[in-house]
């Protein structure tokens, strides 16, 4: 894996990996959704994110002669740069918690929508083009996640309790989405894309509005302890990659 790891590559990999890993997670619902329509919606979401990841990975790898599959299937865990939020399992111990799924998708879609919007003006024309297509998708995801947040937050006492509990579990991971660092600063400098910190205010305003309308209580912020963006992940990513990459590693040199 001879990736140059330039700041620009790293900036884009953070986004590509966020989309890729979230796609892998949402696809876990395929065949197991609470309603058939939702099963299809989550597969669709996973497909959209997969498509976004593929476009970005292909673009990122080009200068180093690496294709999307080399980047997705042969990088080691420490080389994945998605924020930890995206790799968390839906439930703590193998279960799928639909409340967590909905809220993470809300957090992600709000964030992706803001990000793609700003990336429309990227100095990298290819990135701008990817952003344009992706923005339409993310707006739809946002609407869908918002609808479900309202339904489940303001549904039954049980659904509200589940949503609030899931929100408490999710909240410690959102801080990482808005940390500033050198990679981020370089992207802003070169107009490749916005510093993520600059998305924070708008993200919080939108989230507060939706969560409030859903009668949920926004948890207290806590110091961010997560550093997926520099390759320091949770214990969950390794297990996810063991599955995701198994075939490429077990059948080296294969053509698929």
């Amino acid at each position: 894996m001879k990736l140059s790891n330039t700041p620009a590559q790293r900036y884009l990999l953070r986004i590509a990996d966020a989309a890729l890993i979230l796609s892998q997670r949402n696809a876990e619902w395929c065949g197991h959704g609470p309603i058939l329509e939702e099963d299809l919606a989550l597969s669709n979401l996973a497909l959209d994110h997969l498509g976004q990841a593929r476009a970005l990975l292909t673009h990122v790898g080009k200068t180093d002669g690496l294709d999307e599959d080399q980047l997705a299937m042969l990088r080691l865990e420490q080389q994945f740069l998605n924020p930890v939020l995206f790799e968390l399992p839906h439930g703590l111990h193998g279960q799928r918690d639909f409340a967590f799924t909905v809220l993470r998708n809300l957090a992600a879609a709000t964030w992706f929508t803001l990000l793609w919007q700003r990336l429309l003006d990227s100095s990298d024309a290819e990135v701008a083009a990817i952003a344009e297509k992706s923005l339409k998708e993310s707006r739809y995801h946002l609407q869908h996640a918002t609808d479900w947040t309202l339904r489940l937050g303001d549904g039954t006492a049980e659904s509200k309790a589940r949503m609030q509990a899931a929100l408490e579990r999710l909240w410690p991971y959102v801080g990482e989405l808005f940390e500033a660092d050198a990679v981020d600063a370089a992207a802003e400098e070169t107009k490749l894309g916005p510093s993520w910190a600059s998305l924070q205010m708008e993200w919080r305003a939108q989230m507060n509005a939706v969560l409030g309308a859903a009668t949920l209580t926004v948890p207290k912020d806590c110091a961010n302890a997560h550093r997926g963006r520099v390759g320091i992940h949770s214990e969950h990513l390794g297990h996810l990659l063991a599955e995701m990459q198994y075939l490429q590693r077990a059948y080296p040199g294969g053509t698929w």
């Binding site: 197991h32 058939l36 593929r54 039954t156 490429q248």
Partner: protein, 311 residues
């Protein structure tokens, strides 16, 4: 009596029966059984292939597989809708599935053990399904016929994708990949040709269904057609079908094939296949785990309606 005769005359004339038309109760019942069974098969059929989404070997294959499994869910959706036009609700049909009363295609009680299984299911299982389903596009019940036209179009697409993925592995893959494909074919061949059901001599319901225009070809006819088509495709792939008795019969102008293990067929239909219990348990668990979601959605909708009324 007269109504039945008129009904049969319409069918004989090749007319479509629509939801609001009168129909004999037995016709309705047969259709609900057949369409819901077909819908259940799509839903349960998401599981064996879904097992490989997380492990697809490339992002392109992952996208294709995810889209395919999603299509199956979509087929389930419009088949349930077609069945609902006959007066049975989706919840009733799902209850029948979850309680074990309703059946689904027995093929999905076999496990997907390697990545090649995904391609082979596309090629053989979807291929057999299409043979069974194409005649249903001319089924006498309009809503079902129209649903089947859409289903068949997508299924043919899946079948070509499955075959293409095998072709890539057989033509450009490593020895280990080729062995994987052959192994998958060995496991899926016989279950696939069992998908056409028992021999005509053993098949119940067939005659009446033929008369009603719900069934257009006999099991053995379709099976032969499938075998004839598949043998050539296997040659192009360069794999061996696991049947030593497979040979061209010049007189019949068809391929002869070996004896089907009907004991296995009935055992799996009867519930003792490798995955019957797990498939059903997985569907039931998804349904039960989702109960609070469905309840909340309903509660929210009710609240919302009341607010609108109050306003």
């Amino acid at each position: 009596q007269a109504r039945e005769a008129a009904f049969q005359a319409r069918i004989d004339a090749g007319e479509y029966i629509e939801a609001k038309d009168w129909m004999p109760p037995a016709y309705r019942k047969t259709l609900v059984r057949q369409i819901s069974q077909h819908a259940h098969s799509e839903i349960v059929g998401m599981l064996p292939e879904g097992n490989w989404i997380s492990r697809a070997p490339s992002l392109k294959r992952k996208a294709i597989l995810l889209a395919k499994v999603q299509d199956e869910g979509g087929h389930g959706l419009y088949l349930y809708a077609a069945a609902e036009t006959l007066g049975t609700s989706r919840d009733q049909m799902l209850d029948a599935l979850h309680s074990g009363k309703a059946k689904y295609s027995s093929i999905f009680n076999y496990p997907t053990l390697t990545w090649a299984d995904v391609g082979v299911i596309g090629w053989l299982v979807d291929g057999a399904a299409i043979m069974n389903q194409v005649p249903l596009c001319r089924c006498s019940y309009g809503p079902y016929a129209r649903a089947m036209i859409r289903v068949c179009r997508e299924e043919s697409f899946h079948q070509r994708q499955g075959y293409e993925s095998l072709l890539v592995m057989m033509q450009s893959g490593t020895e280990a990949q080729k062995a994987m494909v052959q192994d998958a074919v060995n496991r899926w061949w016989w279950p696939s040709i069992m998908m056409f059901g028992p021999h005509d001599s053993e098949s119940l319901h067939s005659e009446q269904s033929m008369r009603w225009g719900i069934k257009r070809n006999s099991n053995d006819e379709l099976r032969q057609k499938f075998v004839d088509a598949t043998v050539d495709q296997a040659k192009v792939l360069g794999i061996t079908l696991p049947d030593p008795d497979l040979k061209w019969n010049e007189a019949r102008q068809h391929w002869d094939f070996g004896r089907i293990d009907w004991d296995e067929f009935w055992r799996v239909v009867g519930g003792d296949g490798p995955c019957n219990r797990e498939r059903l348990a997985t569907r039931v668990q998804a349904w039960e785990d989702g109960e609070w979601v469905r309840e909340a959605a309903l509660a929210h909708a009710n609240k919302h309606d009341q607010q609108k009324e109050a306003a």
